[in-house]
């Protein structure tokens, strides 16, 4: 679950990290009032949407207080923000953050992630913050300082201090950086984040400010922070993906016309690859998961059939915990309830396979069973092309 910049900044503030003065608004007139109330010469309007690259996409404006703040705010609030991270469909702008634009003397970088390779929470800091940090990481890795945190001991004050003195020599600044490092780490572990990042952390005169912040939470640990559920902004999520997740499914929309239902993320990815090898284009990634019930399978089937772009349905299941009979019952129930309009090609294998095959065979539905995965994939692609052509 991703948080907006303003939500992330509010958590940082609670932990004692300074951020530029600002207000969150939802319409253009409010934006103007907010801008004036800041009593700053220069202000910045920032589109609140779950994506990086907002600046390049026109979602961030630095203005003088004498400029036409209201019009500009209106423009941003009405935007559909298309960045290099959103895909062509873009993201709506949920709110506008109106902030004073502080003097910027230096741009630093702070980030915390869990390094999958060694299982250590890793704190990263660099004196070269800002939008080019990824390039810096590739080309001048010596400018990125890392602290691997011992999972049981946690981040120690001396480690925060150590990073801070690598980024600043003045005590006044280093102490504020150390405080930000500790705060960001504590946020990461206490909120079970997948990412906690301040980029840039700016030195502004004698102050250190988090100019932008990104905090993403791990969905698997949200049960520990039920109060965070209120911060979820559903308008930033694809409605189909959202309802799929609520049904316990992992679904991602793609651009093609072959609806896929697979169990297991690995096999689901492999299925997309296989369709592609045969020249087809999947409409989605859909993993029904390991322990799906009949209901979940039925929900998955409905999600596929609801997608008007889908021309053929491809079911590829290798039953482990998910038994083939449960799968068959779920699919059959969903199709019978709505009446079948699309061709379905199923390749099933694994636990209770005989029973599953029999259920499909006895269902009276026109579901084509192909035992060979490769042949099934090929056939699906051929079918999809026929239906496209017709």
């Amino acid at each position: 679950m991703n948080l907006h910049e303003f939500q992330s900044k509010s958590i940082l503030m609670e932990k004692g990290v300074s951020v530029p003065r600002g207000l969150v608004v939802y319409d253009a007139l409010e934006a103007l009032v907010a801008a004036r109330s800041l009593k700053a010469d220069k202000i910045v309007l920032k589109a609140q949407a779950h994506s990086g690259g907002r600046g390049k996409a026109g979602g961030i404006s630095v203005m003088s207080i004498d400029d036409d703040v209201r019009s500009e705010a209106g423009r941003i609030l009405r935007m559909n923000l298309v960045t290099n991270q959103t895909g062509p469909q873009g993201k709506p702008v949920s709110a506008l953050l109106v902030e004073e634009a502080p003097q910027i003397d230096e741009e630093l970088y702070l980030g915390v992630v869990l390094d999958r390779n060694d299982g250590h929470v890793t704190v990263m800091a660099s004196p070269a913050g800002g939008m080019d940090i990824e390039t810096i990481a590739k080309e001048s890795p010596e400018k990125i300082y890392l602290v691997k945190v011992d999972p049981l001991r946690g981040l120690c004050p001396f480690q925060s201090r150590g990073l801070a003195y690598k980024l600043a020599s003045k005590n006044l600044i280093a102490n504020q950086i150390a405080k930000a490092v500790t705060a960001l780490y504590e946020i990461f572990v206490s909120y079970d984040c997948t990412l906690a990042e301040i980029n840039p952390l700016v030195v502004s005169g004698e102050k250190v400010l988090a100019l932008d912040a990104k905090i993403n939470l791990d969905d698997h640990a949200l049960f520990r922070r039920p109060e965070m559920a209120g911060l979820r902004d559903r308008s930033q999520e694809d409605p189909v993906e959202l309802s799929a997740r609520q049904a316990g499914l992992s679904y991602i929309k793609l651009d093609g016309d072959i609806g896929c239902m697979v169990n297991g993320a690995g096999l689901a990815m492999a299925t997309l690859d296989l369709i592609s090898i045969h020249g087809g284009a999947p409409a989605n990634f859909l993993d029904v998961g390991g322990g799906a019930s009949e209901q979940v399978v039925a929900d998955a089937t409905n999600i596929l059939l609801d997608d008007t772009r889908v021309k053929v349905v491809f079911i590829n299941i290798f039953g482990g915990i998910l038994r083939c009979d449960v799968l068959a019952r779920g699919v059959i129930r969903a199709i019978k309830e709505r009446g079948l309009q699309l061709p379905v090609i199923a390749r099933i294998e694994g636990t209770n396979i005989e029973l599953g095959r029999k259920l499909f065979a006895d269902s009276g539905l026109q579901i084509q069973m192909i035992p060979s995965l490769d042949e099934a994939a090929e056939l699906v692609v051929v079918k999809a092309k026929e239906l496209s052509a017709s």
């Binding site: 299982g119 690995g266 296989l274 369709i275």
Partner: protein, 290 residues
């Protein structure tokens, strides 16, 4: 021979009285596994289809000499039983549970490594050694057959798919294990390759990777340097959706690795036979070994 588990393994199931625990404990025993006990706090003195249940892993180890544990505990509480198993001296811990908060896994894993135990998973189908008639996991046992091929995978169902092909191609398996699909897992490809290197019954290894992380890149380095048995690999996710980007931090820490193409290239450079069509993996192994 096999790696990690074998005919002598004495296996308990933590969470044996739950639905999955009961089902798979019995399925493992049916396959041939030496299921010596189970643990559910408060259920001491009861039996699950003849398998004795204990209150604690410590008791179970004392009474049965268990040295392998299969864990089915809901994600929110799964850290504790892993630590309980380690502290009781269990050497191989197979954690099936999916969706454990990664910081919990990371913290438990630290202790696992410190005490010299091995964690398979979490979010793994487990481990199976057809040659040893020992299954500690949830994979469908019947698709496996004894033979010379070791299988290491980051994905559950993808493993079944490959194993099924291997069996149908006449290529039996020495040991198959799933590393687990969670962000933090106990074993890496390299850890397993080291074990397969020393296992005389394993003549070739199938490595099933996927996008994300750098486990395949590290495996490539290791194979190039030290691994002399033939390796066949498949990497899922060439067409994978870009997924949720982890801000800058993800890119910084991964240093740009993690794409399917990058992994395929690294493996190929290391002399691994990389198969691009999933359905051809079995055949590729057959071509190499026969």
């Amino acid at each position: 021979m096999a790696i990690l588990v074998n005919r002598e393994s004495r296996v308990i199931c933590q969470g044996i009285t739950g639905r999955n625990g009961t089902f798979h404990s019995i399925a493992c025993r049916d396959y041939g596994t030496n299921m010596v006990g189970g643990v559910t706090p408060g259920k001491k003195g009861t039996f699950v289809d003849g398998i004795p249940v204990f209150n604690t892993v410590e008791e179970a180890v004392l009474e049965t000499g268990a040295n392998v544990s299969l864990i089915f505990i809901p994600a929110a509480h799964a850290k504790d039983p892993i630590l309980e198993a380690v502290d009781a001296g269990i050497k191989v811990i197979v954690c099936i549970t999916e969706g454990i908060p990664p910081l919990d896994t990371a913290s438990a894993l630290y202790t696992v490594k410190q005490k010299g135990s091995v964690l398979i998973g979490p979010n793994t189908p487990g481990i199976i050694s057809p040659t040893e008639k020992c299954k500690v996991g949830i994979m469908p046992g019947y698709i496996h057959t004894p033979g010379p091929v070791g299988v290491i995978s980051r994905s559950g169902t993808l493993t079944y798919e490959v194993v099924d092909q291997l069996t149908k191609a006449g290529m039996g398996q020495s040991t198959c294990l799933g590393l687990g699909g969670d962000p933090v897992v106990g074993l890496s490809f390299v850890d397993c390759l080291k074990m397969f290197k020393d296992d005389p019954k394993t003549e070739a290894v199938v490595l099933i990777g996927e996008i994300g992380g750098s486990a395949e890149e590290q495996a490539s380095e290791y194979i190039k340097g030290e691994f002399r048995k033939p390796v066949v690999a498949y990497v899922a996710g060439k067409l994978a959706p870009p997924g949720k980007r982890m801000g800058h931090a993800g890119a910084i820490i991964s240093g740009g690795s993690g794409t399917a193409q990058g992994k395929i290239e690294a493996l190929t450079r290391a002399g691994v036979t990389v198969v691009e069509n999933l359905t051809k993996v079995g055949q590729a192994v057959r071509d190499i070994l026969l």
